[in-house]
Structures are given as structure tokens and as C-alpha cells.
Symmetry: C2
Subunit: 363 residues, 2 copies
């Protein structure tokens, strides 16, 4: 697939330079690294991983890429001695590798660091492309779906435990309880949202202090084993608040309508428009600063937010895409509510990976 893209663009090489925090790099190499490494893919189908010597054996054992080349084998230490700059020494090696491969044009992904692309421009024709691995990642295979299902199950069982044992007074206590429970099971949730009161009108507010009449609990851990995420939100009511409960009923109704539409071939934009319609019909604003102020959903995989988006942008949903459906309403004088599930798009419908009752009243 990379080779096809290279042919189409009349280019010899595609390169990435990243750590395994970069989902495309992790997807392409299946190699965990804290320090950035260089992945090179050629028009003849060759793939090379350029690594420091100290990573060579580990990369040979663990990476999906078969040809591992060490910087030291390419004269890194000698260059570093001469240049006294590790980045310049690295760039000299990268350029020489591409020149040896008779490179004229190189394709780079949008996110390639500029210090590399600017150096490459001095030697080659450089063309920026949307990362082909981002495209490959949009539709999940069955192995990936099973991984996301596993994370989803960890979320719902943790949430069930939380609700059954709810005796917390502060947002921070709820977050710590969820995150510790998940961590001990092998899932990392770093910024779980447990927000309350009027501050919950900001969708990404983490939440702090005394729990007021409701809590938005948004849990999106990744597996520390394989790196896949899942994403789930419920709004929980601790005391009666008619305004917030009415808002929540509207987002649950909007989510139901959206879920009914999810299937192979549907334009995500139409799903987003439908959510706006339902919320409008309940009397809520779907403008920019208050009301429904974010998109309807996003892809979930090796990143918690990835393609496709369910938003104003037109994109056809395909079988095997894993996305969230998460309408919310936010008013700064009242607070916010949101409901969210992660689903797999199927031929004629969707499967909800995070099934859990929608209305949770603890009063």
C-alpha cells in the first residue's frame, strides 16, 4: 500500500521519524520506544528501521520491521565527534541512506518534524502526504476490534463497581478510584474526567473539589499491553436538578437517533446533523459557545481521538470503523452533561462496545 502510494507520486521513499507515542509509528513498527526512531519504506517494498546500536537487538526481536540498521554502523559516532551535534550527524546519515537508494523524491507525512523535512529539501524533491498509516488505521480488523472490546469491558466493569460502591465526596476521589482500579487491571487512564457543577460546562474540564448535584464521568484508558483505547461517558445525578436532567434526556435521545443511523455507507456528517436536529427540537442551541459545542464523535484505536470524525466534515462510515457517539450540552450558568459510547460500524447497524444503562440517579 505504501509502495502504491510511492508509485502514484513517482517517489522512491516514504519516511517517518517518531516515538511509539505516535500511533502511526507504533502501528507500522509495533515497536515501543521512548526516543524517536526513523522508519523508511521504499518503492520496492523494503522497510528499514534506523535505530541507535543499543536498540538494535531489541528491535530485531520485537519490531514488525525486519531490516534494522544501526546509526553506529553508518558512522554516527565519528560524525558526532566531528560535528558535535547529534541531530546534524543523524541528518547526514539519513540523507546518505536515501542517496544510496537513488532517491529523487521522498514522501513525508504531515507530522514529520520540520528539521528533517527542511534538510531533505536541500537534497531531494519533498512532498507532504497524509500519513498512509492513518488511513490504514481508520478501519479496524477483527483483532483490533477484540482489543478495543477488551478495553471497553474493563471500563464498564470498573464503572459498575464504581456505581455500586459510590461513597465519594470529591471529584479527585472518584478519579483516583477509577484510575487505580483500571491500572491494577493493566489499563492506563491518565486524565479521567469527573467534573461537577458549572465548571462541567467545559467538556474537557477534569473536575475538582466537592461533588455537586451531578458528575460527568468520562473514562478513556488504553491497554498498557497493546496500546488500544476505548472511550465512555455517563452523567450521574447525585441530587435532583431538573435543568440538568432535562438536558441529559435530550442528549440520550439524540444519541439514540444517531446510533440508529450508524451503518456502512452513511455519511458521518448526516449523523452529526441529525444530533443537532434532535437537540434543537428539544429547545437547545447548537451554536458555537453554548449548547452542543463539539462534534458528535471521533475514531478510537491506538489514539483516543483519531479519524474518522463525526462532525461537519463529510466522511463515509465503513464497516469496521470504531467511533464514539457522544452528544453533550453545555451551559456555563448551569453546567454540562454528556453521554458517550464506543461502537463498531457494521454492514447494517452498529455494535455498542460499552453497553451500560444511561440514567444513573444516586439520590
Amino acid at each position: 500500500m505504501i509502495a502504491d502510494m510511492l508509485k502514484e507520486n513517482d517517489a522512491e521513499y516514504f519516511i517517518m521519524h517518531a516515538t511509539s507515542r505516535d500511533a502511526n509509528f507504533l502501528y507500522a513498527t509495533r515497536f515501543k520506544t521512548y526516543d524517536p526512531l526513523t522508519y523508511i519504506s521504499g518503492i520496492d517494498g523494503t522497510e528499514i528501521l534506523l535505530v541507535p546500536e543499543m536498540e538494535k537487538r531489541r528491535a530485531e526481536r520485537e519490531s514488525r520491521v525486519k531490516e534494522i540498521v544501526s546509526l553506529e554502523d553508518m558512522g554516527f559516532k565519528e560524525k558526532l565527534k566531528k560535528l558535535n551535534d547529534a541531530k546534524i550527524a543523524f541528518l547526514e546519515i539519513l540523507v546518505s541512506v536515501l542517496k544510496e537508494g537513488r532517491c529523487r523524491r521522498v514522501l513525508i507525512p504531515e507530522e514529520l518534524p520540520s528539521f528533517i523535512s527542511f534538510e531533505l529539501m536541500k537534497h531531494f524533491d519533498v512532498r507532504v502526504v497524509r500519513n498512509p498509516f492513518s488511513k490504514l488505521r481508520i478501519v479496524k480488523n477483527s483483532g483490533e476490534i477484540e482489543k478495543i472490546r477488551e478495553v471497553s469491558n474493563a471500563i464498564t466493569s470498573t464503572f459498575k463497581w464504581l456505581i455500586e460502591n459510590f461513597r465519594f465526596k470529591k471529584c479527585e476521589e472518584v478519579r483516583r478510584a477509577i484510575d487505580t482500579k483500571l491500572f491494577s487491571a493493566g489499563y492506563l487512564a491518565e486524565n479521567t474526567i469527573c467534573s461537577t457543577g458549572k465548571l462541567s460546562a467545559d467538556p474537557h474540564e477534569l473536575g475538582k473539589g466537592q461533588i455537586e448535584d451531578h458528575l460527568i464521568i468520562d473514562i478513556f484508558p488504553k491497554s498498557m499491553d497493546h496500546g488500544y483505547y476505548s472511550d465512555f461517558t455517563r452523567t450521574v445525578f447525585l441530587s435532583k436538578n431538573d435543568d440538568l436532567e432535562e438536558m441529559y434526556s435530550a442528549v440520550v435521545a439524540a444519541q439514540e437517533e444517531a446510533l440508529k443511523m450508524m451503518r456502512d455507507g452513511v455519511d458521518a456528517k448526516d449523523v452529526h446533523e441529525r444530533v443537532k436536529e434532535v437537540l434543537s427540537s428539544h429547545g437547545y442551541r447548537t451554536e458555537k459557545s453554548e449548547g452542543f459545542i463539539h462534534s458528535t464523535g471521533h475514531g478510537v484505536g491506538l489514539e483516543v481521538h483519531e479519524e474518522p470524525r463525526i462532525s461537519e466534515q463529510s466522511v463515509i462510515l465503513r464497516q469496521g470503523m470504531v467511533v464514539t457517539v457522544e452528544p453533550g450540552l453545555y451551559y456555563k450558568d448551569v453546567g454540562g452533561v454528556r453521554v458517550e459510547d464506543t461502537v463498531v460500524v457494521r454492514k447494517n447497524d452498529c455494535e455498542i462496545l460499552t453497553p451500560f444503562e444511561k440514567f444513573i440517579r444516586l439520590y
Copy 2:
């Protein structure tokens, strides 16, 4: 300081585009975000954070940057409708903001994604610079040192607990015990190294399976509150192995010599050379593939590996720098050993932030 750099380069603006996983972005903004945002700094000292509308209020509350501009205020939704591409819509807004500020030349950090720098080149003169925030981050102020000290204390107390309660059979159990203990105290250790046997000859091998005669335990958590790291390694012996213990005595001796040299004004390269000398004098190789195969240390802060490096590269150590000193020896037919402490460089010496006995025999 950014303004000075802009004047020197006869440029009007400096920009970054990153998430808070990027340490420079986090340092500059002190704002936590999963999705990339844009930071713009002008020659007149103005700083702007360009964010989606849904992040505006949170950014106003939490960010160090005072002027928050929302993409939606700049016509994002209309552009998205017209262009059907969120990245192109964003680029149009970024270019218009810079043009309104009468930009002719813009400075970009080495790591700026190429899709942005290539678009900027169509409109402005673009110059790549080493990120000025990386430079600012090299020397820590007393508040930062206290944060790293706090993480260091969490590491040593966890390690003390581990050694006192050591009854593990597998590498994975040791890792889980350390990581869960740290997590429940507010520290995230995601890839703690607990490696044994011959595989430990690869410095970044995480370790798996039955514990053999020794364990390299390398712990480098970050605070989930403030994001600072610390880094610590001991080699623990579970049964007698003269080869490995002799290697470990040599690295401990080399570390002692290196620590004696650490002070303001010393060239890190000379420290690295001294470590190589000591290891050579003990009869070990300091070549590329076996023996001492990595650098002597690295800076520690908002990244676990940051500047300065203690390596072949010449760089003068300064008071307030926080670095590791971590000689190791690795032979693929024997295994690896390493000792590591995180230290603060002071005027006339260094302070060890992770004090703990070096020789730990559990047999």
C-alpha cells in the same frame, strides 16, 4: 527571551503546534491538552494560544498564556463547511492571524509538523530554530528541582518497600508491583524495566518471564500532577554470579568517579570519557556493540530523556541542571548491569536526589 530570539533573527513570530505531551508546549503554556493547539509568540512580547471554542474557557482558567483565541471566532466552521478539511481550514486561519500581525519571517521549532511549515513557506520566510523552550528547560529553577526531588523520593521509598518485600518469581510481577505502588501515590511509571538473564544485555529490554540470577530495575515515573520525571536504576542479585557482580562493581566504581566530577563548569564529554576510562581499566570494552554501549546520562525534567546529554558531545554542565549518571555494561552472552542516579549539578559538586545503597544481594 523569545522576543530576543525574534529580534536576532529579524522575525516577527515564533509558533508551536503540539499537545501537552510535548514538554516544550507544556512548559510554555502549563495547559494540559490531548489535541494539538497552536502557541504564537510575537516580537512585541504578545503570546496567543489558538484553541477550539470548546477549550476556550478552560484555557483562560488554566493556561499561563493570557490571550486565548478560538478557531471558531476566526471563522473555522464556515471554512470547514467550504473546504471539508479541518487541517486546511486551520492552516488558512493560522496564515491569516500571522498576516494580520504583518508577519514577514516566522521562526519555527525543529519539531513543528511539516504540514504547517510547508504551508507557512508559501506566505512567509520560514526559519527552523532549536526550540527556545528546550534551552530554557535545561537549567531548572528551585521549584522544578523540588518537584523532581518529590518524584525521586517516591521512587526510593517504593524501591525500599520492594526490596523489603521481595518474594517475586517473574519480571512482570516486579514491574506490576512497582508501577501499582507508584500509581496509587500519584506517579505514572509506564515502562519500568525489570529485566533478567541474557536479554538484559539490551538496555531498554523491559524484561519478561522467570527471574534468573539478577534483575536490572530501572524506574522512571512522572508525577501525574505536575509532569516532572525522575530516573533511578539498581541491579539486584538473586543468586551468585561472579561475572555479573564484577561487571556491577566496575559500573559502580565508574559512577563514583563520574559523580566526583559533576559540578558547574565541567564539560559533560569529560565525564563520559572518565566513565569509559574507568570501565576500560577494569578490562571492559567501551566500543559500539558490547560493553559500555550507551551514553553516561541525560537531562531529566518534563521529559525523561532531555538535554543535556552526558555523551561524546561537548556541553558545559551548569548549576541547576538535573541529569542522570548511569554507566552500564552489556554482553549478550552474559547479560547486562546498570546503576543510575538522578543528580542536581551544584556550584562545587552535585546532590544525589535518589540516594540508595548500590549493592543489593537477596541471596
